[in-house]
């Protein structure tokens, strides 16, 4: 029994079960959601398999605690290992990460598309013409538009004012929303159904046309015969219930298995299923956009709870210094963790929540990591380079300057070795920070690679038809196929590349 027509909640399945379709799509996020929809529109029978539950706006709560438990992979306890710990958050629910991101839309920068074509030979498939076609289609479908001025809220407007005063290029963020209430709850799942993530668009549109989705259903292995993928082995799971016994099942794919489980789980599944084919690069060339955030306390009320979580951005330093700055309306829980102090002193700062602004920045990192497969599951190994760290420290300084320019009393730079709270005349202390990633509190919200596309199987995993080199009927359509990282928010590129991929897969299966 599911919530919708053709939705099967695997938590209700109590004995071994088999099912089959033309295509089995693993993952319902930005990549898998659109791939399944494209194939359904082409007339194929599609089954999605999603590890997380199918939550709707009625299920969403105000707090981060509940959203972590219900919507995030491993209840949010996810990090990349290296000398420095870089935390990341991935959606694990129908809709995937777009359900818990800020819906930021950026077209792929032309220089990135050119680099992919030049170094990886992807130009025949992913080029400015094919992307333009996909972007236009997606932008219409998902009502992509700049945020309305009237709902921007204090945090975003303050950032705008700071950019104007500093003379930095800036703009209102474009997003896939309709009827946004500016409730600053993008990361908790939009309670107003305003965010047009795959759980309210591609998935239900396709369910109406006969596609099926299994939620709470984890793929443990890709089934294959003679280097040809024929389906997936799954575990139907019951979340949060004690003493449950996992029930196994199989879902067969007549024409292909499409992996869209993200840059960490996709390469892990390929490797775990021993379906590397001719490729020597599964799990390698894993990339991210490591980021940092800073907070500032102001005399005037900012009211961070009003306005979209991320509403304004500055690409001013994107080309020259490889970083981008944005606002981020951190919920109280996450902001508290970054607020200095203990006891009364700490609580007083938190009580000033409405006087705090928070902005963040991420770098187009040059670091390459890898996804390792361990007995615990996939473990991403990744560490920003010295250059990346220097850029992030520079970004912190720029954001601190901006905050002081618009009247911040104090700023929390979040750098070890520097006072937790600095005033305007202490800004130069940031220059003394050691460029060691362990001195920063790092997170990464965008993950790429691990199954990248290319013509050479020594350095790539999928070919130009999105098919794993040397394995029939096994395809990948998510951010793991990206040959490099982007330097901009990737959701739109993931959707566009997956749309191109799904159309090619569908055409070749006819």
């Amino acid at each position: 029994m599911g919530k919708f027509k053709n939705h099967i909640d695997a938590a209700d399945i109590s004995k071994y079960r088999e099912d089959s379709a033309d295509f089995v799509v693993v993952g319902t996020g930005a990549g898998g959601g659109i791939a399944g929809w494209v194939l359904t529109e082409m007339g194929y029978e599609v089954i999605w398999v999603e590890a997380g539950p199918y939550m709707t706006a009625e299920d969403f709560r105000d707090d981060v605690y509940t959203s972590m438990l219900n919507l995030a992979k491993d209840a949010g306890a996810t990090s990349m290992m290296g000398r420095a710990i870089v935390t990341y958050l991935q959606g694990s629910c129908v809709g995937g990460s777009p359900l818990i991101n800020s819906a930021i839309v950026w077209r792929t920068p032309e220089e990135v598309v050119d680099e992919w074509a030049e170094k990886f030979g992807t130009g025949n498939v992913i080029n400015n013409r094919t992307l333009e076609y996909a972007f236009e289609k997606i932008e219409k479908l998902l009502n992509i538009h700049p945020i309305e001025e009237e709902i921007l809220g204090g945090n975003n407007l303050l950032f705008k004012e700071a950019c104007e005063k500093m003379g930095y290029e800036s703009r209102v963020i474009r997003r896939n929303t309709r009827g946004c209430h500016g409730s600053n709850r993008c990361v908790q799942g939009c309670p107003f159904k305003a965010k047009l993530s795959p759980d309210v668009t591609f998935v239900p549109w396709s369910l109406e046309k006969g596609a099926r989705v299994y939620s709470n259903c984890r793929v443990v292995k890709i089934i294959s015969k003679n280097r040809k993928a024929t389906g997936v082995e799954v575990v139907f799971k019951e979340r949060g219930k004690e003493n449950y016994r996992p029930v196994k099942g199989r879902i067969y794919a007549r024409r292909g298995v499409i992996l869209a489980a993200g840059a960490i789980d996709t390469p892990h599944l390929i490797r775990k299923s021993r379906l590397q084919g001719d490729s020597k690069a599964v799990g390698k060339f894993f990339m991210a956009h490591p980021g940092v955030g800073i907070g500032g306390i102001f005399d005037r009320e900012i009211n961070i709870s009003l306005g979209p979580s991320q509403g304004y951005e500055s690409p001013h330093f994107r080309k020259g210094h490889h970083f981008k700055m944005e606002t981020i309306g951190l919920p109280i829980e996450l902001l508290s963790a970054r607020t200095p102090g203990f006891g009364r002193e700490f609580m007083k700062r938190i009580e000033n929540y409405n006087y705090v602004a928070v902005w963040d920045s991420y770098v187009k990192s040059e670091a390459h990591g890898q996804v390792m497969s361990t007995i615990f599951g996939p473990v991403p190994k990744y560490e920003p380079t010295k250059r990346d760290t220097e850029i992030l420290i520079f970004a912190i300084k720029k954001m601190a300057e901006m905050m002081f320019e618009v009247g911040a009393k104090v700023v929390f730079p979040g750098i070890y070795g520097i006072p937790e709270e600095i005033t305007k005349d202490q800004l130069n202390l940031i220059d003394e920070a050691e460029p060691d990633p362990r001195n920063l509190l790092l997170y990464a919200s965008h993950l790429f690679g691990g199954a990248r596309m290319g013509v050479d199987p020594r350095i790539s995993v999928v070919d130009l038809n999105f098919k794993v080199h040397g394995v029939e009927n096994l395809f990948v359509t998510d951010a793991s196929v990206f040959p490099t990282n982007l330097g901009v928010n990737p959701q739109h590129t993931v959707m566009a590349v997956s749309m191109i991929g799904a159309e090619r897969i569908g055409e070749s299966a006819r």
């Binding site: 105000d62 707090d63 981060v64 605690y65 509940t66 972590m68 438990l69 491993d74 209840a75 306890a77 000398r83 420095a84 710990i85 945020i147 309305e148 009237e150 709902i151 809220g153 929303t177 309709r178 009827g179 946004c180 209430h181 500016g182 409730s183 709850r185 309670p191 107003f192 949060g240 709870s305 009003l306 306005g307 919920p331 109280i332 829980e333 996450l334 508290s336 963790a337 203990f342 006891g343 009364r344 700490f346 609580m347 007083k348 938190i350 009580e351 929540y353 409405n354 615990f376 599951g377 070890y416 362990r438 509190l441």
Partner: protein, 140 residues
């Protein structure tokens, strides 16, 4: 691999370092009333095995930290608030990266569990989803 009574007691003492009862001007919610430790216990039980193991280590490290960091000859649970604060402060500014990260992690999970309580959120002035302020802010 749930927390035992000793670990829960330590968790409670840790959360109390950040959110001691009765000291806030507006934030009056008590961490016990807010169900913070029970919630933390449940959240961590949902973490994957390696993260749960890590948490047991973090609690163990924090319990003995006052001794290793020369704050006291007694472990964490036997100290008064000031001394516990001092031990936690030393963890936050430790030269050892992982000790610093442990302290950050504790602050993060303590805040997530504490502010999962609606009353605590209201006390710091965060409007609920039903607050009429959001209908005013509706965009197109």
């Amino acid at each position: 691999m749930a927390f035992n009574r000793w670990e829960k007691r330590t968790l409670e003492k840790i959360v109390e370092v950040f959110f001691p009862p009765g000291v806030g001007d507006r934030l009056k919610r008590d961490l016990i009333e807010a169900g913070t430790v029970e919630r933390l216990d449940y959240m961590i039980s949902r973490y994957p095995l390696q993260a749960r193991l890590l948490f047991h280590i973090v609690i163990w490290v924090t319990y003995w930290a006052p001794i290793f960091l020369f704050v006291s000859i007694l472990p964490f649970n036997f100290l008064n608030w000031e001394k516990r604060k001092k031990a936690m402060e030393k963890m936050f500014y430790s030269r050892i990266y992982y000790v610093r990260q442990f302290a950050n992690l504790l602050k993060l999970v303590a805040a997530i569990s504490f502010f999962a309580d609606e009353e605590a959120r209201r006390e710091v002035g965060i409007p609920g989803i039903d607050d009429p302020i959001y209908s005013k802010y509706m965009g197109g």
